[in-house]
């Protein structure tokens, strides 16, 4: 039976951690549980949740900045932003549904602790790029801050950004401050049809090389496109290659014609207007095309865009798999059959020879306990990583084993 600690304030979190430190007792760090089925398994007797530390503490729409306590649910933040015609710039991905945890449980702390961003990242940067400041408590039970609430800040080391993607293994975020952006006046999606993966990625990278500020560049091969809810695309029964433009309406109208013209060798695209586009990209963001299943495992592969089709093809030689390409190919969500190692050896080999790294997002707990979930580190990087872990959390209390078996 896991004991769950629920600090409601920073000082309370500090005192709980100090107590755990005195007992040298490791602790799992959670928000509202959206990420509990992701990452390595921690096997601790105690968990600590930021769920009771919630609420938006600062919102200045004219300065494009918001602060919120770490346990604030993402949906609350997005609702508040939408009410003022703004949004998060990086479409954070909720891993809950695809990993068999509940949907809508992602906290803003979890967003930055995992740094998992959606389609818009290709144009505007990821969660890490929009984090301005944090308050956090480390494994020494010390409360510290880094960064601040202003856009430009190079005062001292960028510890705040350095904590993104550390999955709660260095410190427990208590408050985050981040940049927000205006909602676009309108958006449109161009869908090119029936392109094989290599041509699709070629089209997407070409689109990214135009001046039209494409804000989403994804490719869904036939099998994955069939899982879409978007009725017009689903009805096609073929692969779709998607490009999103967002801006003022005049600019969108102009740019979509220019873009279609620049890519005319790839066919005449179908056009999805604003409402259809919003629904489509929300669907992709929720990973509904990669639904939870015990029969499959899910990988998230980061690579150089033009290498993506080769990587997928190389893996498909060894196992049946379905890919959803985003970031013009720079990101691959790859579904493979459930297996004892989730295909780790083949996936990692295919990625390694072409450059990039792979993270196992969904697999049975015993699989995530036995294979490397995060890309194994080279010795030089490992030395620095272990050094940082020791600097923040010398007793190894926080999320022990969550990222790597040895820390």
């Amino acid at each position: 039976m896991t004991e769950l600690l629920r600090p409601a304030a920073e000082w309370e979190l500090q005192s709980m951690l100090a107590k755990l430190a005195s007992r040298r007792q490791p602790v799992e760090v959670v928000g509202h549980g959206a990420l509990r089925n992701a990452g390595r398994v921690t096997n601790t007797e105690t968990a600590i949740t930021t769920a009771s530390m919630r609420g938006i503490t600062l919102y200045e729409p004219t300065e494009l900045v918001m602060s919120a306590r770490a346990g604030t649910p993402l949906f609350e933040i997005e609702a508040e932003l939408a009410a003022r015609g703004q949004m998060l710039p990086f479409e954070p991905v909720d891993l809950g549904p695809t990993t068999g945890a509940s949907a809508g449980a992602l906290s803003i702390g979890g967003v930055f602790a995992t740094n998992i961003s959606g389609s818009r990242r290709i144009a505007s940067g990821g969660a890490r790029d929009h984090l301005l400041g944090v308050r956090a408590v480390n494994g020494r039970a010390e409360l510290f801050k880094s960064g601040g609430r202003v856009m430009k800040n190079v005062t001292g080391l960028d510890v705040a950004r350095g904590l993104t993607g550390s999955w709660g293994t260095l410190a427990i975020l208590t408050e985050v401050t981040f940049k927000v952006v205006p909602l676009p006046e309108t958006l449109v999606t161009l869908a090119f049809r029936n392109l094989p993966d290599d041509l699709a990625i070629e089209a997407l990278t070409k689109a990214m090389g135009t001046p039209y500020e494409v804000s989403g560049a994804a490719h869904l091969p036939k099998g994955v496109a069939a899982r879409l809810n978007q009725p017009r695309l689903k009805a096609l029964g073929e692969a779709v290659t998607l490009l999103r433009l967002e801006n003022f309406s005049g600019a969108v109208a102009y740019r979509k014609d220019k873009l279609a013209e620049a890519l005319r060798v790839y066919g005449t695209p179908l056009e999805l207007a604003a409402e259809e586009s919003w629904a489509l990209w929300s669907e992709l963001r929720a990973l509904s095309v990669m639904p939870y299943s015990r029969d499959t495992s899910l990988w998230r592969i980061s690579t150089t865009p033009s290498k993506a089709p080769e990587i997928v093809a190389a893996i498909q030689k060894f196992m049946a798999s379905e890919a959803y390409y985003d970031w013009s190919g720079g990101l691959i969500w790859l579904e493979v059959p459930a297996a004892a190692d989730a295909g780790a050896a083949d996936v990692r080999r295919a990625v390694a020879v072409r450059g990039g790294h792979a993270t196992l997002i969904r697999a049975a707990p015993e699989v995530r306990a036995s294979v490397d979930v995060f890309e194994p580190m080279k010795p030089e990087a490992e030395r620095l990583t272990l050094g940082l872990k020791a600097a923040f959390d010398p007793l190894g209390l926080l999320n022990r084993g969550r990222m790597y078996a040895n820390m």
Partner: protein, 490 residues
């Protein structure tokens, strides 16, 4: 200027200088070494020229392997190392020490590979900022961060300071535009961080390294993002009778969902100096001038600028002018980009670099005027208004040491003010030696200890760029805390 204390040099090390030079010459060749005083003199300061110090030796490595050999040697022999790019730091980030080896990266300036398909360029870090854009311009691409010193400054220096520029409102600063680096640690270990893809695995080491001011290692190569240039860009100028009106106008533009590429602010003294220098057509009878640039096709630009003009009308601008052609656009920017140089023609100046929440602008500008007046000094303000980054230029006479000291004290008061209103000590220039002793204004001892422990992970003996960034006494105070084997938490 004399307010910043620097540690006493180690006489023993200086005494071994000739032997050290011989050793280094054996490792990387005599040609990569500067020993004579005249040669070393060129490295005695950076763009914070009030502070000078002749380094013991200067090395100019040609390769990552050279850098690794030099650093390993220095580490083995307990020698301090000052990494240096082009020496354009405004905060004394590249100031040498008498008992230190300056490692200048400027000979490593090649473009290794340009990949237009994946929109990246792999370069050696000694390349100048502008040379990257220059190389990819033929295909209509550019490297986004554009510090004012971009013609001279190296990417290595940009990486060290996480440099920004006028256009980072839209395109972000250095950390948003770099995908990977090759870095040499003080013990000579070569480590690759990130790569040619958008996200690096594991901890975000790239974030820690970028902006670390030469404290963690020496970057020798980097993969940067290159972006396709917009179809066109055009600035407009709006003059206002009060800073309040100009500040409110900026807020209203952003609130309307418009994100220009740049919003620059100049106060009256700055306008006059820049106009005299560049003949840009700046209005001379206004208290505050905004230069706002938007991008896109001609039609898009026209639409956006008229929307901005419409918003601005609510704040009764005294003058309003949209650039009519490329020549005028170039002059408008030439005036702004040459602002520091233009001010430098009329006076010595001390350039500050705080950031504030935009809403505090009128209050802060008033206080800056009062602070400088209280020290008997004049000030000109240049400001990246879109992101709250202030550059007050405090005018003083460098030939009068007492006046220089007053300028330094006024600067410290201004930066303290920036922190008090919710901002920070430095938006893009870095801490260096200049703001080192003000770090305690922004950070608690614990905040600093967290940073200094990271420094210790990368550079356990604190040999890299010593006496910068962290207050000297802060490090003394955390000697126990850096001992990660004996945590205090228990």
């Amino acid at each position: 200027m004399t307010l910043v204390r620097l540690p006493d040099p180690d006489a023993g090390t200086i005494g071994r200088c000739a032997a050290i030079a011989d050793d280094l010459a054996r490792l990387i060749g005599r040609n990569s070494l500067i020993v004579d005083e005249e040669g070393r003199r060129a490295f005695e300061t950076d763009a914070l020229t009030a502070y000078r110090c002749l380094p013991m030796l200067v090395v100019l490595p040609r390769s990552t392997e050279d850098v690794a050999k030099v650093l390993k040697y220095c580490s083995d022999n307990g020698l301090k190392v000052i990494p240096r790019g082009a020496g354009t730091s405004l905060c004394g980030g590249a100031l040498p020490a008498e008992d230190a080896v300056v490692l200048c990266i400027s000979k490593m300036n090649l473009i290794i590979d340009v990949d237009y398909t994946n929109r990246t360029a792999r370069v050696e870090s000694g390349i100048t900022n502008l040379a990257i854009s220059g190389r990819v311009a033929e295909k209509g691409f550019f490297y986004a961060p554009d510090p004012s010193s971009q013609i001279a400054c190296t990417l290595a220096g940009n990486l060290a300071m996480n440099s920004g520029g006028a256009h980072c409102l839209k395109y972000g600063v250095t950390t948003h535009n770099v995908l990977g680096v090759r870095m040499v640690l003080i013990d000579g270990t070569i480590v690759d961080i990130g790569g040619g893809h958008l996200e690096a695995p594991g901890y975000d080491l790239l974030s820690l390294v970028i902006g670390s001011e030469g404290q963690l290692g020496v970057i020798t190569e980097a993969t940067v993002r290159i972006l396709k240039s917009a179809e066109g860009a055009r600035p407009m100028m709006l003059g206002f009778s009060t800073p309040e009106a100009a500040g409110a106008c900026v807020a209203a533009i952003i609130a309307a969902g418009i994100l220009p590429v740049a919003i620059e602010y100049m106060d009256k003294p700055a306008i006059h100096v820049c106009e005299a220098f560049a003949s840009a057509g700046y209005p001379l009878d206004v208290e505050a001038l905004l230069i706002i640039e938007v991008e896109g096709s001609d039609t898009e630009i026209g639409t956006l600028l008229s929307r901005i003009a419409e918003i601005a009308h609510k704040f009764s601008p005294k003058t309003e002018q949209i650039s009519s052609d490329a020549d005028q656009s170039a002059r408008i920017w030439a005036g702004r980009k040459a602002a520091f140089g233009a001010v430098g023609r009329i006076s010595d100046y001390y350039c500050m670099d705080g950031t504030i929440p935009l809403g505090q602008l009128p209050r802060v500008l008033t206080r800056i005027g009062e602070i400088c007046a209280s020290y008997g000094l004049k000030v000109a303000n240049i400001f990246h208004a879109g992101d709250g980054n202030l550059h007050p230029l405090i005018l003083y006479d460098a030939n009068k040491p007492e006046e220089a000291e007053r300028a330094e004290r006024a600067g410290a008061d201004i930066l303290t003010l920036c922190v008090e209103v919710g901002g920070c000590l430095t938006g893009e220039h870095g801490v260096g030696i200049e703001k080192r002793d003000l770090m305690g204004v922004q950070f608690t001892p614990t905040d600093l200890a967290v940073q200094m422990r990271i420094k210790s992970v990368f550079d356990p003996a604190w040999l890299l760029n010593p006496a910068k960034v962290f207050p000297l006494d802060a490090r003394d105070g955390m000697a126990i805390a850096t001992d990660t084997a004996a945590p205090r938490a228990a």
